[in-house]
């Protein structure tokens, strides 16, 4: 029972961070219909930013989110304006290759600057835990990052539902042409959406830094996870991505215990294919285009 509870709790908590990566991807896809293969690399940039802020200025990774969020927002906006925008109407494989190319540029530039060493960001609380009882414990930094994720997701939900810009983004996601006809500045919405996506990925990077490690090629695994989460939740659905992230976290953690840690990623991919086949709109998605 302790094993079950422990796996469930840590699965949910790590799922929170996955969710944040997935939400970023789903926003970008929803608004632009671009599958962003550089998403994990954008997250990696966020991790190095956190690392720099921590080592050079001593800013706590959780506090540094306040700085890295806007910086990553501008970085994402820049990427959209200079690169992605030019292929919005191009065929899908060119969009994919472009983002793959951008990802290669990011990870290898970072490698030239920081070398490919593993960087460990050790805070005073990196290994601290809270005992819940029954032999089950919760990692303090993971719990904090989960709470921050929840807050950011709530804020994002409010932004998309209640503000004019948010509603314009949602309208663009629903039907780009109709939105344009309605007088919405579609290209501006795209920049904002990509900026938000990048900022969320960067934030996820910052949040995972105290309990993980950093190196230039770290992005790859997270890109794939983000894809799975996004499809699972329904492309373009923020709530779906949140649930998808947590579901993936729990699935990984449970299958590591009850099947085998070697096969846990296979379980995730099989789940992914099943959703694609039987409910292609995802858990929360309404319709497919």
């Amino acid at each position: 029972m302790a094993v079950f509870l422990q796996s469930l709790i840590s699965g949910i908590l790590i799922g929170g961070v996955y969710a944040l990566i997935g939400i970023g991807l789903t926003l970008i896809f929803g608004v632009m219909r671009v599958v962003n293969f550089a998403h994990g690399d954008i997250m990696m940039v966020g991790m190095y930013l956190t690392y720099l802020l921590f080592t050079l200025m001593g800013i706590d990774p959780f506090v540094s989110v306040l700085i890295s969020f806007p910086l990553m927002f501008f970085f994402g906006g820049f990427l959209q304006k200079v690169f992605i925008n030019r292929v919005l109407n191009a065929v899908a494989q060119n969009q994919i290759l472009l983002t793959i190319g951008l990802g290669l540029i990011m990870s290898n530039t970072v490698m030239l600057i920081f070398t490919s060493d593993y960087k460990i960001l050790t805070t005073s609380y990196s290994s601290s835990t809270i005992q819940v009882g029954g032999g089950v414990s919760v990692s303090t930094p993971l719990l904090i990052s989960f709470l921050i994720t929840a807050a950011i997701t709530a804020a994002l939900g409010w932004f998309l539902l209640k503000t004019d810009t948010g509603q314009a983004i949602r309208a663009t996601a629903q039907d780009r042409d109709a939105a344009q006809l309605m007088g919405i500045n579609v290209s501006r919405m795209s920049v904002i959406a990509f900026g938000l996506g990048a900022a969320l990925a960067g934030t996820a990077g910052a949040l995972i830094s105290p309990t993980y490690y950093i190196f230039p090629q770290v992005g790859g695994t997270f890109t794939l996870k983000a894809f799975v989460i996004t499809v699972l939740g329904g492309m373009g659905s923020v709530v779906g991505a949140t649930l998808g992230g947590i579901l993936i976290g729990v699935t990984e953690s449970m299958s590591a215990v009850y099947i085998s840690s070697g096969w846990k990623d296979v379980v995730v991919f099989v789940l992914f294919l099943l959703v694609l086949l039987f409910k292609p709109s995802g858990l929360m998605g309404k319709s497919r285009t």
Partner: protein, 381 residues
């Protein structure tokens, strides 16, 4: 483009031969293996400097294999047939070394592999292939012997990365514990780079093993230990195989790394000639502690360069001299011997070390020990 390259190639081939010894280096300088490859690069750079001081001028031909066997073959083809090097030091990974070893034999180019762990590489009877480091089976046997001499462990759990290094080390370890009568209670391969091992560790904890044997090449080691503490995994000893457990970053995490036992090819406190000095100078030059890869690469290059020079740049003579020679340097005594089915394998003494007060202290074998081992593993605070 191709024409241009051909012209370029011709121009290069015609260039006058320099008097310096030409030695090839194949290493993973970019790609996923680059973090470890960098240590090898640095070790060789330091060797190059030291050789200059000794009056041996080297012309190193650097080749990046990006961690891919077919690319490392390209590199070997180029070094052997276009650059005409006397010998080659490298590659880093087992997969690349495997692919390159056969080519070295074919072209009769002496190849000195500094740090690849797969046993089979030197078990194919290849005459031109030499290896500096101890292969994977030594990791397992030295660690388990250490635990068995310190206490009376009855059960063991394996947690290891599902890579070539992880699985082959664990495979020999399983055979070894079977002989020793230790029961295997958990066998958990994990994908390298995962963020959450808590569920796996909780499962291992429920089996209550006396020993936890982990193989991790990279920073996963820190995550595994952090999360072991979180879930309260409390064996008699944590045994760590692989580079992840032997980095200064790992030792610096005192809250989780204290008293972990690991094994390594090299430490900077061992009394092999020049080892301490190498550690100090390496740190001064590159701003970080050398790993054993760096020491292996350094020693390999020193031996290769000196042998090549004495052999007058002749490949066969160099090969024979490597086979006949005996050295004593930062890696201790080095001799490329044939034993237990190995050919040209340096029967290297692995060192067992434990982190005590945040420092790696050699605890076994007795003649190299600097401190007495702490056993069993103290209760988590």
């Amino acid at each position: 483009m191709r024409k241009h390259l051909l012209a370029l190639g011709a121009a290069l081939a015609l260039s006058p031969c320099l008097m310096a010894q030409k030695i090839g280096v194949i290493n993973s300088m970019s790609g996923p293996e680059a973090p470890i490859g960098e240590n090898i690069t640095n070790g060789i750079k330091l060797a190059d400097e030291d050789l200059k001081k000794k009056g041996i001028n080297l012309q190193l031909v650097w080749e990046d294999d990006t961690g891919k066997p077919q690319i490392s073959m390209s590199a070997m083809e180029k070094l052997a047939t276009r650059d005409n090097v006397v010998g080659v030091v490298g590659p880093y990974t087992s997969a690349c070394s495997n692919a390159v070893a056969k080519l070295a034999e074919k072209y009769r180019v002496p190849l000195l592999i500094p740090a690849a762990a797969k046993e089979e590489i030197t078990r194919q009877g290849l005459k031109y292939v030499f290896r500096m480091n101890a292969p994977a089976d030594k990791y397992a046997s030295s660690l388990i012997d250490a635990a068995a001499s310190l206490g009376k462990p009855k059960s063991i759990a394996f947690i290891y990365e599902n890579t070539d290094f992880g699985t082959s080390t664990t495979k020999t370890a399983k055979e070894y514990v079977a002989k020793k009568g230790i029961q295997i209670v958990a066998d958990e391969p994990y994908p390298k780079g995962a963020a959450d091992y808590r569920s796996t560790l909780a499962k291992v904890k429920s089996k209550n093993p006396d020993l936890v044997f982990m193989v991790s090449y990279v920073a996963d080691a820190i995550l595994l230990m952090r999360q072991s503490k979180e879930v309260g995994l409390q064996p008699q000893a944590f045994l760590g195989a692989g580079a992840g457990f032997t980095t200064t970053e790992f030792a610096k995490e005192r809250a989780i790394s204290e008293s972990v036992i690991s094994c390594t090819q090299w430490t900077n406190d061992v009394n092999w000639p020049g080892a301490k000095d190498f550690g100090t100078r390496y740190k001064a030059k590159f701003g970080k502690e050398p790993t054993y890869h760096a020491a292996c690469a350094y020693a390999s290059m020193m031996i290769m360069a000196e042998t090549a020079k004495n052999a007058g740049g002749d490949r066969t003579k160099t090969r024979n001299a490597l086979k006949a020679g005996k050295w004593n340097g930062v890696m201790g005594e080095v001799q490329f011997a044939d034993y237990d089915g190995f050919t040209n394998q340096n029967n290297h003494q692995m060192l067992v070390q434990q982190i005590l007060s945040g420092n790696y202290e050699t605890v076994l074998p007795a003649q190299f020990a600097t401190k007495k081992a702490v056993y069993p593993f103290p209760k988590w605070k």
